[in-house]
C-alpha cells in the first residue's frame, strides 16, 4: 500500500515541479499577483478610503467583509458540530472514567497562571482593539483570549474553567459575535447603503465617511473576536474531555 501510494505522489510531484518553472521568481516585483490592479488599489487607496494604516485589517473587514462574515459563521458552525458530535457520547466515556488519574493542580503552575492570565487577557484586548495600526485583529485577539481560558483549564482542571465560562454561555457569546457583525451590516443597509457598506454609518456616528468605516471595522472585529474566543474554548473543552466536560486533559 505504501509503495503503491508512492506512484501517484511522485507523479504529482513531477507535475508540480514542472509547473513551478513558469512561476515568478522569489520576490519578483513584476509578478502577476503584485502587478495586478487589485493589489495596487488596496495598497494605494486604503488610506484614502478608510484611514486605516493596517491594510490587512482594512481588506479583511471592509473590502472583503462578506468573506470574513461567513468565515466567522464557518467557525461557529464547526463549534456547534463538535458539540453535536460529542455531546451525546456518554456511553464511551464510562470506559475512561475509571482510569482518571489523581492529577491535583500543581502549586507553581497555578500561581504563575494566576499571575499571567489577566495580563494575557489585557493583551488580547490590546491586539483586538489595536488591530488597525499594528498587526492584530479579531481572529488573533480571539485566539489569545481563548488561550487564556485554556490555560486556566490546563493548570487547574476543566471544571474550574467551565464554571467560569460554561459551554452554554460560550455558544451564546459566539452567536452574539455573529449578531454584532451582521447587525452592523444590516444597520448600514437600513441607513440607505448596501449590506456591510459601513460608510453610511456616518449618519449615526458624528464622524466623516472614512472614519465611520474605521469605527465600523472596530465593531466588526469585536464581533469576530467574541465568536473566535468562545469557539476556541468550546473546541478545547469538548475535544480534551471527549464531550463530558469533566477532568479534561
Amino acid at each position: 500500500m505504501k509503495i503503491l501510494s508512492l506512484i501517484p505522489i511522485i507523479a504529482i510531484g513531477g507535475l508540480l515541479l514542472w509547473a513551478a518553472q513558469d512561476f515568478p521568481k522569489w520576490g519578483d516585483v513584476e509578478s502577476p499577483a503584485s502587478k495586478s490592479p487589485v493589489s495596487s488599489h488596496f495598497i494605494g487607496k486604503t488610506g484614502v478610503d478608510t484611514e486605516v494604516p493596517n491594510m490587512v485589517t482594512a481588506v479583511l473587514a471592509d473590502y472583503r467583509g462578506f468573506d470574513t462574515m461567513f468565515e466567522t459563521v464557518v467557525v461557529f458552525i464547526a463549534g456547534m458540530a463538535v458539540l453535536a458530535i460529542l455531546k451525546g457520547s456518554t456511553r464511551g466515556n464510562s470506559r475512561r472514567k475509571d482510569h482518571e488519574v489523581e492529577a491535583e493542580p500543581d502549586l507553581i503552575v497555578t500561581n504563575t497562571v494566576r499571575l499571567i492570565v489577566p495580563v494575557i487577557q489585557i493583551f488580547a484586548f490590546y491586539v483586538l482593539a489595536h488591530g488597525h495600526v499594528s498587526p492584530g485583529g479579531g481572529f488573533q485577539g480571539g485566539v489569545l483570549m481563548g488561550a487564556s481560558f485554556i490555560l486556566i483549564a490546563l493548570s487547574w482542571d476543566l471544571e474550574k474553567a467551565v464554571s467560569r465560562f460554561s459551554i452554554e454561555r460560550c455558544m451564546i457569546v459566539a452567536a452574539l459575535g455573529i449578531v454584532i457583525y451582521g447587525g452592523i451590516g444590516l444597520l448600514s443597509m437600513m441607513l440607505g447603503g448596501e449590506f456591510l457598506d459601513y460608510a453610511e454609518l456616518e449618519r449615526v456616528l458624528p464622524v466623516s465617511r472614512e472614519m465611520a468605516r474605521y469605527h465600523a471595522m472596530l465593531g466588526v472585529e469585536i464581533g469576530v473576536g467574541f465568536t473566535v474566543t468562545a469557539i476556541m474554548f468550546a473546541l478545547y473543552a469538548n475535544l480534551s474531555s471527549e464531550g463530558s466536560l469533566k477532568q479534561g486533559l
Binding site: H99, V101, A103, V109, I120, F123, V127, S134, P135, G136, Q140, L144, A147, I150, L151, L154, S155, L249
Partner: protein, 104 residues
C-alpha cells in the same frame, strides 16, 4: 551599526540552535525533545525582535514576539500535562493486564 549587531546576533543564535536541534532529533526520551522545542520556541521570540530590527519595524514585531512566547508557554504546559496523563494511563493499563494474567 545596529543592523550589524542584529545580523551577528541572528547568525549566532542560528548556529547555536543546531546542537539543540540535534538533541531534538536524538533525544533518548520524549522529554528531551520537548525541552529542546521549548528552548527553540523561546529563542524564536528573540529572533522575531532581530528580524524586526533588520526590517526597521521593531514596534510591529514586538507584538509577534510577545504572542509567540505566550503560545509557547501554553504549548509546554499542554504537552507536560498530556504526557503526565497518558503515562499514568499506560501504567494503569499495564498493571491491569498483569493483574488479569495473574488471576487467570
Amino acid at each position: 551599526m545596529t543592523e550589524w549587531f542584529a545580523m551577528v546576533m541572528g547568525a549566532g543564535l542560528f548556529v547555536l540552535m543546531i546542537p539543540i536541534i540535534y538533541r531534538i532529533f536524538k533525544g533518548p526520551t520524549g522529554f528531551d525533545r520537548i525541552l529542546g522545542v521549548n528552548v527553540i520556541g523561546t529563542k524564536t521570540a528573540v529572533l522575531l525582535v532581530i528580524i524586526g530590527t533588520l526590517y526597521g519595524r521593531v514596534e510591529m514585531f514586538v507584538d509577534f514576539a510577545l504572542t509567540y512566547s505566550l503560545l509557547n508557554f501554553v504549548a509546554a504546559i499542554v504537552v507536560s500535562r498530556y504526557l503526565n496523563r497518558t503515562i499514568s494511563l499506560k501504567e494503569m493499563e499495564a498493571r491491569e493486564k498483569a493483574k488479569g494474567g495473574a488471576k487467570a
